[in-house]
């Protein structure tokens, strides 16, 4: 293909040369060129190899519908599958072709073309179902599957994209003639309008073709400039350029992606794309039409392109890809290409039309006659031939004779389709137009208006009345635009989907989907094999499943199928068009919600101290909690946990419990409310006392636990588990509003307002006395499960005597801002008593020694308080509370429910493992009846052996018996089933 530059062009700056590399070779283009137009300028016809057969492929279109010309942008983190027809070049850009090895010219994979008769529809399904498992590993996966494909994955990079929200009355999608006219009607109206166009320049068909000769008696170019200026000056209209609407969701919610670096290299660290999330009252679709191709033998050869794309290259890029293309058409849309060529001083080598002489428009006829263009009417192209590019075509003329025409370029037009993707995404319904042979928007589901060719109006004669009629619901002025055309105004098409090849051959290929290498033969085969429903056929053949979603070919496939099945096209239907309209990057979707912002990290007020003191952190929900503290880098986790827990038992330890959920409940009816939410009864509880409480779901299962402090009957503070805080508050709010709206009660989260320190160990009282000298910590003055308010250096604090370790313990609640200072104080006072911080792992070990459960670890949503042996916590005299009735359901009073027990290895030296099953037999012989499983398991240096908590069937009555625990090495360990308390069973230390 020998291209020539046309002299003047308003979009291409011929004085500004740009150098770029394609497959390592340096070329030049001009400012404004896309990769495709620059490659065509350099007479490069092959730009990639096809998906399956590795056939050489060229540039087929001039826009977003491109199926073939996908390239890898090396200079942008090796971004694959970029459409060469859209991406603009910039100085120093590096581009590589895809799916070829070792080179584009000589591709090893093209051997697939020889074997192509076996790679037909369903090849993968049939082959990979093969009997030998080894084949998958040695042949299918490494060889066959790898041979197919497009680009390679990009390199690791940190893309930045912003999200912007819009709330407007009207969104106009497409800034072509109709989009501009619609926008013009809204100038200075009371509507907020958003006008979105995919290109850098508004104008659409006015820029891309020579169809229109004048608008309002002005040169189209001049009219365009004036109109855009008027729209830009209007205060109520915002224009988004370089922005592609990819998605049309429910309730007029649109998603559009804006490229921020068109024609220049994206700068690392700068926002390179913006995702627009648009809420709109009405959507006006003016996104135009897409030309479709035709199927005949070798219709994929480089040098074949769509006729309107050829014209777009001429008008938009000042470039004729060939001096003398052959044109093959079945409709009137390619008339303007003939006009454009002749206007540019060029001439088609031949004009071939499947329509008869009478149907061809008279002025096209005159133009062709006047310029001596060879004309073939009633004719079809039987095939295109050439070595890696088109060299000749075979034309069957009206008499049935075959003519060979030598050519370097063939322009195809199989008709035009309204671009219905967005309309169907919005759930609107289509209807087949028997005259124009295409699907047109028919019934909108949302407030959607379609204008111009997007609505199937392929002629311009009703332009004004159509827009005025469809916009009449708005208070806008009526349009009266005078339009004159260079070519015939009436769209005319003759039915033609495919031309069968001259010679029958296993290797003859007429493609129906260029990107996925689907041939018309595959469609026939799929129907023969019974896949005659369009959705099945699509998946079986992979037709229109490429990244282009078959934009230039899917309607052709429907036409072929409807002929084969002898059904109407409306009966065949279309496959469902799903968003996105064109691929958009994950980084754009993620926006700023990535890396450190992906999930917020919550840190306690003491976090910095932990960092400085060797804490290794554990994630609990969003919280960072110290798991254990390393005294030096060599200390193992096991050593650290044993050291910390031993120190709590012998001296004293301090835990940062600030992450525990804290909820304040106030109101006249707070007492009644708390009695309804928790299992316990709070009525007889004294002011200033605290109680361990359980919260159930309505199904009677344990949902959360915590300590409830009763300040008065009208005021409570509840703690929750770290992970359950939001759920518990949500549950309280729900019941307060939905079930008991008569109760006067309010609740609020105070989790982050207060830090919590849990100090426990035999020496705790001494430390507390030193740290808070004004407070009497004696057993009489400050008994177990009571709390007191104090002021310390002007800071209001609350001290609760409670313990999760089984030792004497206090919890101190301090306003977060003052917490670090008091923490430091306690550290320094505690030094002489051996006070050391401990983490969550030591806490887990210590509580397990006492048999205290952790909701979510020892319970799993199927455990009742009775199963846990906590019946004493149920306020049986209460009339009602959450889940009360469920505790007496037939299922919850079953005797063989899983119940909480303790487990110790019969041979104390044996190890236990968390999650392992408890079984009755020593031998593992399947099926093995499983009693239950180990929920928590630790080694205790206090006890000197492993111990565990487990839930097992009928566990309470099995206490004192023996069983076995499975191990990860498929053996068993003999275990004793014991009461779930291993240390200080009579709570002497707790109340000491």
């Amino acid at each position: 293909m020998k291209s020539i530059n046309l002299k003047e062009n308003q979009f291409i700056q011929f004085h500004q040369k740009i150098s770029f590399k394609f497959d390592g070779v340096k070329y030049f283009g001009y400012k404004g060129d896309t990769i495709a137009s620059a490659l065509l300028r350099n007479n490069i016809s092959i730009v990639g190899r096809s998906f399956k057969y590795h056939r050489p492929r060229g540039i087929y279109t001039c826009g977003i519908e491109e199926p073939n010309a996908l390239v890898q942008i090396i200079s942008e983190y090796s971004e694959p599958n970029t459409r060469a027809t859209i991406k603009k070049i910039y100085e120093g850009m590096e581009i590589e072709s895809q799916n070829r090895w070792p080179s584009l010219e000589n591709d090893f994979g093209s051997i697939n073309n020889l074997f192509s008769p076996i790679f037909t529809a369903g090849f993968y399904y049939k082959t990979f179902m093969g009997p030998h498992k080894k084949f998958w590993k040695n042949l299918y996966e490494p060889l066959i599957r790898r041979a197919a494909g497009l680009g390679k994955p990009p390199k690791d990079f940190k893309g930045i994209s912003n999200h912007i929200h819009h709330n407007v009355d009207i969104t106009i999608i497409g800034g072509g003639l109709n989009g501009l006219l619609a926008a013009k009607s809204f100038i200075n109206s009371n509507y907020d309008v958003l006008l979105i166009d995919f290109e850098e320049q508004l104008g659409g068909i006015i820029n891309n073709s020579n169809k229109i000769s004048s608008i309002d008696n002005k040169e189209p170019k001049d009219w365009l400039k004036e109109t855009i200026q008027e729209i830009e000056d209007s205060k109520n209209i915002k224009i988004l350029k370089n922005t592609l609407v990819t998605t049309y969701n429910y309730i007029n919610h649109l998603i559009a992606i804006e490229d921020r670096f068109v024609g220049s290299k994206p700068i690392e660290g700068k926002v390179n794309s913006t995702l627009h999330k648009i809420r709109t009252g009405h959507t006006i679709l003016c996104n135009g039409h897409i030309e479709r191709f035709l199927s005949f033998q070798n219709n994929d050869l480089p040098g074949i392109m769509l006729s309107s794309s050829f014209e777009k290259y001429m008008c938009r890029y000042g470039l004729a890809p060939s001096k003398e293309p052959v044109i093959f058409s079945n409709n009137s849309n390619s008339n303007s290409l003939v006009y454009s060529l002749i206007k540019a001083g060029l001439k088609p080598k031949a004009y071939i039309d499947s329509r008869s002489g009478e149907e061809i428009e008279p002025n096209l006829f005159d133009l062709i006659r006047k310029n001596d263009v060879p004309l073939y009417t009633n004719s079809q192209i039987k095939g295109a031939f050439g070595n890696k590019k088109i060299e000749k075509i075979l034309v069957e003329d009206s008499s049935g004779a075959l003519n060979e025409i030598k050519c370097d370029c063939l322009c195809l037009s199989g008709g035009i389709n309204p671009d219905v993707h967005l309309f169907t995404q919005s759930k609107g319904l289509l209807d087949w137009d028997e005259k124009d042979l295409t699907y047109k928007p028919s019934k909108p589901f949302q407030p959607t208006i379609t204008l111009g060719s997007a609505s199937g109006q392929f002629n311009f004669d009703n332009l004004n009345s159509d827009i005025n009629e469809k916009l009449k619901t708005f208070k806008v002025k009526k349009l009266d635009v005078k339009l004159e055309l260079n070519t015939n105004a009436k769209y005319n098409i003759e039915k033609l989907w495919e031309v069968s090849p001259q010679k029958k051959s296993l290797w003859a290929k007429s493609f129906i989907d260029l990107q996925n290498d689907v041939t018309t033969k595959d469609i026939r085969q799929a129907i023969t094999e019974g896949f005659d429903r369009i959705e099945h056929l699509k998946r079986y053949t992979t037709n229109s499943m490429g990244t282009d979603q078959g934009k230039i070919s899917s309607i052709n496939a429907l036409g072929i199928v409807s002929d084969l099945l002898d059904k109407k096209v409306n009966e065949v239907g279309t496959t469902i068009y799903r968003p996105p309209y064109a691929p958009l990057s994950f980084s754009a979707i993620a926006g700023r919600n990535c890396y450190e912002f992906y999930d917020p990290e919550r840190k306690s007020p003491i976090h910095n101290w932990h960092l400085k003191n060797g804490a290794i952190f554990e994630d609990v929900g969003q919280w960072k909690r110290p798991w254990y503290f390393q005294i030096n880098k060599d200390e193992s986790m096991h050593d650290a946990v044993q050291r910390e827990s031993k120190n709590v038992r012998e001296n004293a330890g301090i835990l940062d419990g600030s992450t525990l959920g804290k909820i304040e409940i106030k109101g006249e009816d707070a007492l009644e409310f708390m009695n309804l939410i928790y299992t316990n009864s709070f009525t007889k509880m004294k002011q200033g006392s605290a109680r361990y409480a359980l919260m159930l779901g309505e199904d009677g299962m344990v949902k959360d636990d915590g300590i409830i402090c009763k300040i008065s009957d009208q005021h409570f503070i509840a703690t929750t588990t770290t992970g359950g805080a939001a759920t518990v508050l949500g549950c309280m709010e729900e019941y307060a509003q939905t079930e008991w709206p008569n109760l006067k009660v309010f609740m609020n989260s105070i989790t982050e307002q207060y830090a919590t320190f849990n100090i426990s160990g035999p020496k705790t009282r001494e430390i507390m006395k030193k740290a808070f000298p004004n407070i009497n910590f004696s057993n009489e003055e400050f008994p177990f499960m009571t709390f007191q308010f104090h002021e310390f250096n002007g800071v209001p604090i609350r001290i609760l005597r409670a313990s999760f370790t089984g030792e004497l313990g206090y919890e101190i609640y301090i306003p977060s801002n003052s917490a670090p200072k008091i923490w430091d104080n306690i550290q320094s006072f505690g030094k002489e008593f051996g006070l050391a911080p401990y983490g969550t792992e030591a806490m887990h070990l210590l509580r397990a020694e006492k048999g205290y459960i952790i909701v979510g670890q020892d319970t799993d949503g199927s455990i009742t308080p009775i199963d846990l042996g906590l019946s004493w916590m149920i306020g049986k005299s209460k009339k009602d509370f959450l889940g009360k009735r469920s505790l007496t359901r037939s299922d919850t009073i079953r005797e063989d429910r899983k119940q909480l027990v303790g487990i110790i290895p019969s041979n104390k030296a044996d190890k236990l493992e968390e999650g392992q099953h408890i079984i009755l037999d020593k031998e593992i012989k399947s099926p093995v009846p499983m009693l239950g499983h180990i929920t928590s398991c630790y080694y205790s240096s206090t006890l000197g052996h492993d111990f565990a908590l487990a839930v097992i069937k009928n566990g309470h009555s099995m206490i004192g018996t023996k069983a076995y625990a499975s191990t990860s090495s498929m053996s068993t360990t003999g275990v004793d089933i014991v009461k779930p308390v291993f240390y200080d069973a009579d709570n002497k230390r707790l109340v000491s």
């Binding site: 429910y250 919610h253 699907y439 239907g573 469902i576 709206p741 009735r885 469920s886």
Partner: protein
């Protein structure tokens, strides 16, 4: 993505709300004798119709208020929202779009692209 009209805050994005299942399910009075079946139905059984449905929502990332609505489950359209203490609207006041034998709405189900 739906726009939901919170009766307290006005129309807001769906991402601010959480769904709370079927509305107007009365919690049996705990102070009275309740049979296993009645209680079990309250805890476990909910309607799941195709078409008009009374539903509870909560404005989680907003005013945190619970409210009720009528939603067409076949098109996801929320027809009306109302406060908990308001009377539930009569479903006959709304036009259900479920018409076809399979229960698909003629337009809006997303299962068809072509007019039948």
């Amino acid at each position: 993505m739906l726009i939901i009209n919170c009766p307290y805050c006005g129309p807001r994005d769906q991402s601010e709300f959480s769904n709370g299942g079927e509305a107007h399910v009365k919690r049996p009075d705990g102070s009275k004798e309740i049979g296993d079946r009645e209680w079990g139905e309250y805890v476990f059984i909910r309607a799941n119709p195709k078409g008009l449905f009374y539903e509870r929502w909560v404005h989680t990332h907003g005013c945190r208020k619970w409210f009720n609505c009528v939603r067409d489950t076949s098109t996801d359209e929320i027809l009306v929202t109302y406060k908990l203490d308001e009377k539930k609207p009569n479903l006959n006041n709304f036009k259900s779009v479920v018409k076809t034998p399979s229960g698909e709405p003629e337009v809006g189900s997303g299962n068809f692209t072509v007019e039948k």
